[in-house]
Each structure stands twice: as C-alpha cells, then as structure tokens.
Amino acid sequence: MSCQCFIIPEDVLERFAKDKSLSEAQRKSFADAAQFERKWRKLRATYGKVSAAANTMLASRAQTAAPPTITVYNCNHGTTLPGIPVPYPGDATAKRAFVETKAVADFYQKLFGRNSVDNAGKTLMSSIHFSVNYNNAFWNGTQMTYGDGDGNIFVDFTRSDDVIGHELTHGVTQFSAQLAYSNEAGGLNESISDVFGSMFRQWRAKQSVDKADWLIGKDIMGPGAIAKGYRCLRDMADPAAKHCLSQQPTHYSQYKNGMDPHYSSGIPNLAFCKAAKAIGGNSWEKAGKVWYSALTGFAPQPNMKMKTFANRTRTLAKSMFSKDPAVFTAINNAWIAVGL
C-alpha cells in the first residue's frame, strides 16, 4: 500500500467506504484503508512508547546496535513512496543522498554518540526525484523525500547538505523530545532542524562559527530566485534579512500562537547563532552539545515552550561546562537578546 493513505482523515475514508455512489471495489478499498489507518496509528503509538522506554532503560544500546543502513529509492517523478530501490551510487542525486545521509549519520555518531535518528540504528531511507518540478523536501515520519526543484526558483533539494541534515533531524526530534508542530513547540521543532542542519554543514566544511555563513538552503536556490536577490531560505544570523525567501521574527515579543513553525523558528535560530558566535570555535563543540542534550536528555515534552528549552540550555551549560563559565554567559545572553 502506498503511504498516500496514511494521512487521509479516517472519517473521510470511512465516509467513502459507505458511499453507495462508489463502486463496490472502491468502497472496499476505502474500508481497507480506514482499517489500515487504525492499526497503523496503534502501531505508531506503541512504537513511540517502547522507544521512549528503551531510551531510558538502555542508554548503552546505541553502542551495541549496528550503524544504520542507508537506502535510496527513485520515485521517477511519481508520488508513490518509496519508489524503486537504487543501487549505490546511482545518478548524481542518488549519490548525494547516499553520501550526505551517511555523513549525517556519522555526524550524530561521532559528535553526540547517537546511532541513527532513533538511537537504535534505524535504517535511513531517502526517496529522490519525487513528483515533477517539486519544490520541496520533507520527512514523513519514516523517511526523507526530495524533489528536483523547478529549475527556476529551486534546484535539486539534495544539493544543500544542510537540507539533508535538516530533514534527518526531524527524525531525531521525533524519537527524542517529540516536539509538536504548532505554536512554540513547532517553532522549536523547525529551529532544531535548522540548528543541526547548519551545524552539520559547518562540520562537513570544517568551518568555525566566524567562517560559517549560517544560511539555510543556500545551495538549492535557483537562478530565478538568485536574480531577485534571494540567497537562502533562512538566515540564522539575520532572520529578518531581505535576502531570505522566508523573513522571520528576531525577538520573542513578536511571537504569537498560530504562527507557522517555519516563521517562528527565527527566534531560537538567532539565539543559537548568537550563543555559538559568542563562545567561538566550532559550533558543534560546545553550543551544539548543549542543544543536543536539551533535545534528547529529558522525557518527551511535545508542547514545550521556548522558555523551557532556553532554561534547559542554561542549566546544561552550567553542568556540562562547569569549568568554562563563558559558555553559560554566552548562552544566557543569547536567549536574553531574543527576549527569552
């Protein structure tokens, strides 16, 4: 069964299953999909509970499980996931998906001791060439999916390694803090993906915080967008900049419930950038470790407020870098600067 059925509202599926204007075969198909959705939801809930319990009880399992297998599938411009398996290396898009996904897995393993998104070696699956001229990349709860772009506003979404890091980090968040996707938790969720996506890009390029450009999606911008002066999706160092396709708020006083996560994420994005720059060196060595512990070191809190996350990083900065008080000072000042 295609994953297309997973998020059609169950009440719609059930209504179709009883719609006598549809053929018997169509009604049965909708009834089967509704039953599948019910079972799938139970399975997801159970898996989430087991995963959370295992994370608590088996802290060493990341070291004992095998590293993740990397798989890539080709949608051949269709929309049925995952598509056809691609043997390594495949075309240029497939090779980037293989190489950069492996690099993200290495990034999490080497820097944070995390084994895949679930910390238990989950296979990292990517689908490429999704749909036609598709201007997006997404995480669907199970895998990554990348469009080729329309060649004007955007080019192939595998071209920006921070985009690959961003999507995989949605998986890490799903299996750790389990942040929701609305209001303050939604903004944090998106910010966490930008933070670790950008950090991954800096790590790949061996860039210090002063050398990094802090741009999200710089390498997927197409000629039409560049001609209009857009250099990136978002700029963590200057979220309201005119060169961003998505210009974001920079202070918590601008936050309102109901904002899209891709908008409100500018506030914690700027806090991380300010903290990392004030600490100096490489973003993944101190600020990154504090952010990672704030994300993964606590019980899931789906509706977390930004202030809660900020205070976690303050507490962790003190405990993790007790001999380096400049880390706490930098992080504290960064959050204060954005109103948190």
Partner: protein, 99 residues
C-alpha cells in the same frame, strides 16, 4: 461566465521553504472549476468540507498543505488539507511564484 462557476481557490502552504506563511516571499496559488473534477475527486472535496476543516496532527514535517475554499458551493469555510490527502487534479492547478 467565470463568476457563475463553482471555482475552487487553492493555495499551497508550508513546506521546507514556508510557502505562503508570514514573511514568506514565495507563494503558490491556483483555481479550477469544481465541475471540472472527476466524480470521485468531487466527492472527496465535498467530504473534506463536511469534515472538521483541519487534519489531525501527524509525524509529517515540512510537507505541503493546501487551503481550499469555494464560496459559491461551500460558503465562507476554508479547509486545510495535507498534500497526500488531495487528488493530483487539485495539486496540479497551483503555480509557484516569487513575490
């Protein structure tokens, strides 16, 4: 006459780039006649408007959603639907543009 047709107004929102959200410089809109949809797609749209208007939370991140309205047929109500729940006929009517 266009104003006598039940026009569906469709806007794609969200995605990694934040289409159509506050501060965004990219948007994606389109329209099509409700009657031009195949029968099954028409029934799907009717069911969506009879539903709760917004889908349940899911584990999907950075996926597109679509805001759909059809004033003549469904009044002032606007529904927000995940991309995977929509037929290709509706998705195909929108066009991305920079603003």
């Amino acid at each position: 006459m266009p104003n006598e047709i039940d026009l569906l107004l469709v806007e794609r929102i969200g995605g990694l780039a934040g289409f159509g959200v506050a501060g965004s410089r990219i948007r994606c809109r389109g329209q099509l006649a409700f009657n031009s949809l195949p029968d099954t797609d028409q029934r799907l749209v009717e069911a969506l408007f009879k539903g709760h208007g917004k889908s349940k939370p899911s584990a999907q991140r950075d996926t597109f959603s679509y805001r759909i309205s059809c004033a003549r047929k469904f009044g002032a109500k606007t529904v927000e639907v995940p991309e995977a729940a929509l037929p290709a006929t509706i998705i195909a009517c929108v066009k991305d543009e920079l603003i």
